[in-house]
Amino acid sequence: MTYSEVDEVEGYIGNFTVKIRKKARYVDPNLCNACGECAKVCPVIMPDEYQMGLGSRKAVYIPFPQAVPSVYVMNMEDCLGNQPIACGKCFEVCDQQAINYDDTDLIVTREVGAVIVAIGLDVYDPTELDEYGYTRFENVITSMEFERLICAGGPTGGHFVRPGDHQRPKRIGFIQCVGSRNPKVGRPYCSNICCMNTIKDTLLLADHYPDVENTVFYQDIRAFGKSFEDMFQRSKEAGTRYVRGLPGDIEEDPKTGNLIITAENTTTGKLERHEFEMVVLSVGVIPPKDRDKLSSLFTLSKTSDGFFMESHPKLKPIDAPTRGVYFAGFCEAPKDIKDSVCQAGMAASRVGALLNAGKVKIEAITCRIDEEACTKCGVCAKVCPYGAIVWEKGQVATVIEAACAGCGNCGAACQFGAITMRHFTDDQLTAQVRAILHEDPQEKVFVFACNWCSYSGGDMAGIGRMAYPSTNRVVRTMCSARVSEEMVLEAFRCGAPVVLVSGCHYADCHYINANRQTVRRVQRLWDKLEKAGVRPERLQLEWISAAEGQKFARVMKQMEELRQTVTADEIKHGMEALKPKPKKARKKKEEEVAAPAT
């Protein structure tokens, strides 16, 4: 289904209902034979997006040569108007009568078992990097524009000319890492493909125009794939000069339109001045614009770079945290064509395996709702990062177990004990708290650690033989969001001098964004402790990843130092002040139960 967008998604693994908006083409694809007569008579001329604005198109056009189906589409924003019809020339010349000015968007509903997200990428816009003069100098172009200029299907028919004077440039400079590995512009990551793309371009130029002199300014050449090093060597053998060092700025000779680059060659330590007839900015890639919409539709989380986060970077690199959703290509991380094809194949096979099985296996850590205890408040549904809890006002919440990942966030949020997390029940966790603090609680640092990161961070500290005080006692939960306020308070009631709640870093949360609820709970707990006259500093929060053994050890040392500042009187006061007060409603109920039956 081309020229379409996903509007709404409901359901869960194996049972998604997707509403797709088929955009109005204003040209009937079943009748159009792509003769092109409509485009010939169309009076509107617009910059062609596919040609990066270097060519033009009409208001009725085929977006790009390989479009499927190969039929025309009318851009109504560019058309002179259909209400009323202002021009109508395309309609008049179309023998097939394919032009339909009354066409409208169509909403199509599909039931699907799995979803593959492959929404591609966008390219970094270098206009903000004024030093490279992309907006000031005509002969500074991006690598995408270079692609169009050298392509036989491009605006110049493959005749490589510079935009300033339409002459063939003989000295070309390439600047790498434009919008990549640059924290100043908020793009600290490597775009993965630019080095090899430039190497390919230099080989292409050397092949087509042997008299062209190419110079590449780079930080590092990352030629790590199969045969990539060979390509790099061939590029050098073909005469391309590689200068290690990025230019500070570009100047233009107003007479010739040539570009002067001054750069420090960090290999020789010398300042070099170069004159080029054209400069190509090797622009990085950025996450696709539509990602936020899809992110909310499928409850997908993003990494700090803005790409979609996979379920596990090593063990489940194709799976989204939302079960039944898979990634392919750039939307997950920058990658080249080969890796994208590999990932797409893996995603397809994962979907095939899922659909062929006809049923899914779930881990036995999902939540269960006690219908009698449920007060129908709906808090559990609001905090569930997976949308696995269905609730309607006045109705008891229900769990879609196939969608539940077992983070326990709902269990911690429920104030009425109506949710049981299998294998991590309130009773089990509270029993652990009490058992740990049964003897000499004043000498212990009490720690809640999430399974995936903090607990593994502790393992890493142990494997690395990092020394830290032996006073800590750890209770493992699947996610830090499983730790309810009541559990923390219970630890203080049992005499814990200090309590640490630790989980994954924001970008690493294995349950989409469940650990944001941890922060809210800890904030509320600090307020509660302060109100009760308990030093709020006795409760700490830390994000420790599985690789941060050193941080785990450092935090344990800090917690031990903090523990030593807590006096026996403080602990005693906390134990008293945090005792649960009988609720009025509960008291009334208890009285009713106690009253003799009449």
Binding site: Y506, V519, Q523, P536, E537, Q540, L541, W543
Partner: protein, 48 residues
């Protein structure tokens, strides 16, 4: 998106500082002094 200034306090080292945040954007915080993640958002005093 609207920006607002929040007052924050590190619950590990006691360092107090202000930060501009975009409303509705939830970001990981760490103390600029000691790198602890125990950052408490201090309540704004009520306007009379």
């Amino acid at each position: 998106m609207a920006e607002k200034v929040v007052n924050l306090r590190c619950m590990m080292c006691g360092h107090e500082y202000s930060e501009k945040i975009e409303e509705g954007v939830d970001e990981e915080r760490s103390c600029p002094k000691c790198r602890s993640n125990s950052i408490r958002v201090l309540k704004q005093p009520k306007k009379d």
